[in-house]
Symmetry: C2
Subunit: 185 residues, 2 copies
Amino acid sequence: MNRDVLHCAKCGTAVEQKIPEGDNRIRQVCPQCHYIHYQNPLPVAGCILTWEDRILLAKRAIEPRYGFWTLPAGFMEVGETATEAAAREAMEETAATAEALELYGVYSIPHIGQLYMMYRGICKDGYARAADESLEVNFVLPDEIPWDELAFPVIRHTLHRFLKDRKKNRFQVFHEALDYRSRST
Amino acid sequence: MNRDVLHCAKCGTAVEQKIPEGDNRIRQVCPQCHYIHYQNPLPVAGCILTWEDRILLAKRAIEPRYGFWTLPAGFMEVGETATEAAAREAMEETAATAEALELYGVYSIPHIGQLYMMYRGICKDGYARAADESLEVNFVLPDEIPWDELAFPVIRHTLHRFLKDRKKNRFQVFHEALDYRSRST
């Protein structure tokens, strides 16, 4: 994903990098029409869907992390709620109908400018299949999770926490920062 | 806030409205360089800060809702966590140092494409003053909240829930949709 703004969204003029008056951060500002291009973190919604003791995973058919396993998740669209976005991603990636979705965790991932909203819920009828963006899907037991083949740290963290919470049968909504800002990657 | 994209961020060409191949939504697409301009909800972070039994409110010195009362809140910046954003907004708007921030509630507001992350915490030393974007600040008791002069529905909902939860001394993190999509406003 490349969010660099080179030209003004309003008039097409090449933008300048400057700190607008009254601001304290460098923004992309149009020298012609003075429009300021703010950039904000992107909200992502995803879900852990279970069927009996099993968790639904999907193998990615797209980059980044082609061929690695993930939970259904993707960028929220304008005009939908986070819950709707999580259900839509489950449908698009695994053809699963998400039921009884409840907010489970929020992850700030500042170094890539993302904000994850993770839900937990039930996969209706235990039905899923590889849909758009997935090579295959699988309902895994805890000891079948392919920890070394998970697509992203946020997926590993979510699964790890979920298994711990499920043992206690107590799911407390959390906010966690996956903070790699001081690292080079 | 006007997020309409008229020109390509990459090359400045006037964009077209079309559904990209493999997509199902109308996007702004560049006919020249084929860059697709996705638009996503904007994440907002804010906080309820208390000092003893009182809650910190700020009177807005900017539009929209100039002169109405609000909790410190604002758009998250790329490169910060939601918690950091909430603390930064408190400092910028009320000069308050937020302590012990914990995620309290998440609001999806689909008709305006916003995702609110509300925290609760302590106002260090009970110190606050009107800073940038605020006309004045006030630490209010529950029966002093100016319900008819609050800036936004999300502020009213948060305060209402907080007072109920504080009576029970049980703060459960929630996700709620403030869904006005079917209304004209």
